[in-house]
Amino acid sequence: MSVEVRGVSKTYGSFTALRDINLKIETGELVALLGPSGSGKTTLLRIIAGMDTPDAPAAEGAIADRADGSILFFGEDVATMSVGQRRVGFVFQHYALFKHMTVFDNIAFGLRVRPKSSRPSQSEITDRVHRLLKLIQLEGFGQRFPMQLSGGQRQRVALARALAIEPRILLLDEPFGALDAKVRQSLREWLRRLHEEMHTTTVLVTHDQEEALEVADRVVVMNQAKIEQVGSPAEVFHHPASEFVIDFLGNVNVFHGRIAGGDFQPGPLSANLPQLQSVGANATKIYVRPHEMKIARSKEDADAIEATVERINRAGVNAKIHLQTNQNDQVRVDLPLDQLDALALEIGERVYFKPIQARVFAPDYTI
């Protein structure tokens, strides 16, 4: 596979940025490192690029057959390789375009600085740059300067510049973070299409979950220096492996309650509905997604919960109904618009809701 991260940790003084990270990235896939600020995703990206180094493995506790704290590209340890030697294409968050060079010169830069022996000829360089300009849909912009381009255009130039050196791995550091929502959206789609054409192994860092879920083949959810879950977008969304993941991705209702019996399993809630029981020694959180709720005018199920309709937001694909329970909890239920119309709910009405699907996460026990 393309990139392997083995047992990488990184601390800055007293702050731990990465804690024993292990990750394998397959050739040709687009992986998103997703997480809030401080989760370590950018640190990991920079370590892969070679702009930062992982901590040396601790003497004790290092497992003998694992080379801790190493990065491998195609099976080769790259610890001794500098940034330039690793042949990674790095795209910075704020583009870092060479402001005094034209777009053409920016893209050609990586080719022109090669030592004479490996440098392509003048005409080859021109060809390649023009092909890339066409790829990023900026044909004819070759003689413009970065100052004359919009944010989205600059980002595309930064990408082309990185692609020009035919990198083995493309690394993108929050590439669309500094752009407007609409531009972000179209660039996202464009990036995905580009990836399908070029199939360069790509690692993308983002804090925007929508971006990760839309663009990536696999998502690596990170939190507080650790990896919470790795999986396809559908997997991490519908089968979250931890409380953090389900909370971070998409909206979720959280109920506090108790579980009776010894089994923790995602599945339809039994009669042990949280609100009806006191928060006791086995208190736990039960997670229900807004679209995994049933809502009715009358108490059809014995264990449906009573609530009042506070607000209905019809803007969007689904309607978002905000309820307040008698215990003053806020609950959100998402319904397709036609179902909402069928029910004809109004503000202030009393309704009854019940989860169709719920999740509980067992805390990790260490022995």
Binding site: G50, M51, D52, T53, D55, A56, A67, S70, D77, A79, T80, S82, V83
Partner: protein, 281 residues
């Protein structure tokens, strides 16, 4: 496979060794070693010799004149420099840009050139001097002449230090004061000037420090009469001419220490106000 410790260091841009090495090397040769020579010379001087040099009446007179005139010049520059900085930033009038560029004139002009120009204007036959001498105001060959020259060279320091500070002034603060009923005068006294105080102090100390060591601009207009209009830096040159290197070093040491002390003061002022108000001077 274990990697060596060396490769574990955080990667830096290339060129560290070359640039840092050259920087330190050049700095040492040009600045630090000569500076060290002066300090060592002064410290290894016989204490009684040092005291004898410094308590010579001529030396005392020069020190008095230098410090006194520099202080006064810096003060005058604060007043007029603030007015100038304020007008240049806040108001629009013809030739404003030209005047703004002119502020740097004393800075761009070689000291000897300014020196002879000032001497010519303020001498008893000069443009200004010829009008003032009959009135009993001696603008050359006098302490007043020294003062004039020191005002000249200190002027840009105050203006250039104040300009960014005035630019940074929160205009809304002044409008708020006005909306609360303060007269313009009250606003200026209670809101504007206190906000500018750090910059004013910095400008003052810069002008003061610069004036202490000034030579070329002053010696032509001063007349250089020992005990009367001789500045410290000229005295140092005189001592050197008499081959009294020790004496010259003693005076230089005192002057240098005073200057460095004043500069530390500037840093301290800036640091203090930074902490209090969170703003840069």
């Amino acid at each position: 496979m274990r990697t060596s410790k060396a490769s574990r260091r955080r990667p830096q841009l290339p060129g560290w060794g070359l640039t840092f090495g050259f920087t330190i090397f050049y700095l040492s040769i040009v600045v630090l070693i000569p500076l060290l020579a002066l300090f060592l010379k002064s410290i290894t001087m016989d204490w009684s010799e040092f005291v004898a040099t410094m308590s010579h009446p001529r030396v005392l007179a020069a020190i008095r004149l230098t410090f006194g005139a520099s202080f006064l010049a810096a003060l005058i520059n604060v007043v007029f420099g603030s007015i100038t900085a304020w007008s240049l930033i806040r108001y629009r009038f013809p030739l404003r840009k030209l005047l703004d560029a002119l502020v740097d004139l004393p800075f761009a002009m070689p000291t000897a050139v300014s020196g002879i120009a000032l001497a010519t204007i303020y001498s008893h036959t000069g443009l200004v001097g010829s009008n003032l001498f009959p009135l009993g105001i001696k603008t050359a060959n006098s302490g007043l002449g020294v003062l004039i020259a020191l005002i000249f060279i200190g002027f840009p320091f105050v203006v250039r230090t104040l300009q960014p500070a005035i630019e940074d002034l929160d205009h809304e603060m002044e409008q708020a004061a006005a909306s609360l009923g303060a007269t313009r005068f009250q606003t200026v006294m209670k809101v504007t000037i206190p906000s500018l105080l750090p910059a004013i102090l910095t400008g003052f100390t810069l002008a003061f420090a610069r004036a202490l060591g000034e030579y070329g601009s002053v010696i032509f207009i001063a007349g250089n009469l020992p005990m009367k209009t001789e500045i410290a830096s000229l005295l140092i040159v005189s001592r050197l001419d008499e081959n009294d290197v020790a004496g010259a070093s003693a005076i230089a040491f005192v002057l240098l220490t005073a200057t460095l002390f004043i500069l530390l003061l500037i840093q301290a002022i800036g640091w203090y106000f930074n902490r209090r108000t969170g703003r840069q001077t």
